[in-house]
Point group: C2
DNA sequence: TCACAGTGACTATGCGCTCAGTCACCTTCA
DNA sequence: TGAAGGTGACTGAGCGCATAGTCACTGTGA
């Protein structure tokens, strides 16, 4: 038999020039669990969930294979923790809505936060988008609910602008979805060492979003 | 030990209510190879490349396990065929460019074709986007080149409009990328049995693209 | 009779998860 | 103060199963 995965990339997490995913895991996880999660993020992003072994993850933090199961019940449990927290943080980043500002400024604000978060955390965000197939059905359902909430935030903001006559769109749902697409798709190509800083990209995309909405002065 | 992948979805390709991926594979593949590819598309889309077994693929067309290796040298070879052909077809769909029409109409045309293709072939397109991690480095490189060509088509069309003063964009590359993002991201959520037909969505997105480009009459 | 598509039992190996054992550290109490 | 007993994070060899790929064989059509 030919080597099963001869083309696999380097297995173990190198220096994370890339992203401080450590900061994402709140106090719900113990210190070692958080380091395991950060290692898992790098492994999953590099090789995908199924091609990552539990040994890759533990080796990434200098532990032996069994150590994973002190903190997580299964490998899938690790993936779910990553994906769940990723979605929760993205949702939280959108902040408390309904502040007094105008609809256009509100949408621009949402897009800026959403895009900047996805750019800054593109590695985790990529796993959130690409590795759903590795989750159990119950966990997929949980993620779907979180996404629904994110969609609703954008949808409401767009609808508000349409009601106020600030936006001119054919269909609120489609417009909201297109805006979200801009933010989500950047996890496919974004690199922190590329030409665009998260904030610059965020500002640019906020502008594009307002254009798509046909914004006009009140 | 707990069952390794207890949460796996149904393994074998059911009736393809979904997509005539059969039409994609040209005469470069024999009849049986084409059916294997179509089965692989359904399996990969449902479970992901790594979670799909060679038996899933062959069972999907009623063949025994060894039959795969009559037509393909490895499982990865099957994935590569799917991804390569998917990208080639998407590129071909953009058609012969540089027709005499105006830049705005050219961009609208490109977006319509690109979006309609991705909607119609969303299953294959999803594999093209989500399963690159399963490819050997050489094959990834080949795909990257095809993508580069697709990017260039959009970039050139946008640049042409900017030169002609028809578009008003801050940065040609970012604008082109945003347009492509709209098309690509729909593979994440699009369903053929949803409310939007490929052509309706294509028309809508062409409109959004022109808005993002700040189109104004010559 | 030959070429070859297809078969299916088989091989080799990778990998998720287990579990008896170790060790650093803490608590208790004489 | 320090011995005794307890705790739990971590170790790492190893089990059992899944699965990519092989090969000697079979059936078929030209």
């Amino acid at each position: 038999m030919a080597p099963r995965q001869a083309h696999r990339r380097a297995r173990v997490a190198g220096a994370a020039i890339d992203e401080p995913s450590t900061e994402l895991w709140g106090p719900e996880f113990a210190e070692v669990a958080r380091r395991l999660l950060s290692s898992a993020v790098l492994c999953f992003a590099r090789n995908g969930f199924h091609a990552t072994t539990t040994r890759d993850v533990t080796a990434g933090v200098g532990l032996s294979p069994g150590a994973l199961y002190v903190h997580f019940s299964t490998k899938e449990d690790v993936l779910f923790a990553v994906v769940r927290v990723g979605h929760e943080r993205a949702l939280a980043e959108l902040g408390d809505q309904g502040s007094g500002e105008g609809a256009a400024e509100e949408v621009a604000d949402l897009v800026r936060r959403f895009v900047a978060w996805h750019a800054r955390h593109h590695t985790v965000a990529r796993i959130c988008q690409y590795e759903l197939a590795g989750l159990e059905p119950d966990h997929v359902e949980c993620v779907r609910e979180l996404r629904q909430q994110i969609n609703q935030v954008f949808r409401r903001a767009v609808a508000r602008g349409v009601d106020a006559g600030v936006f001119d769109v054919a269909d609120v749902d489609r417009a909201a979805r297109a805006i979200i697409s801009l933010g989500v798709d950047l996890v496919r190509w974004y690199r922190l060492d590329g030409p665009d800083s998260p904030d610059a990209l965020a500002a640019e995309y906020a502008e594009l979003a307002l254009r798509m909405l046909g914004t006009r002065p009140v």
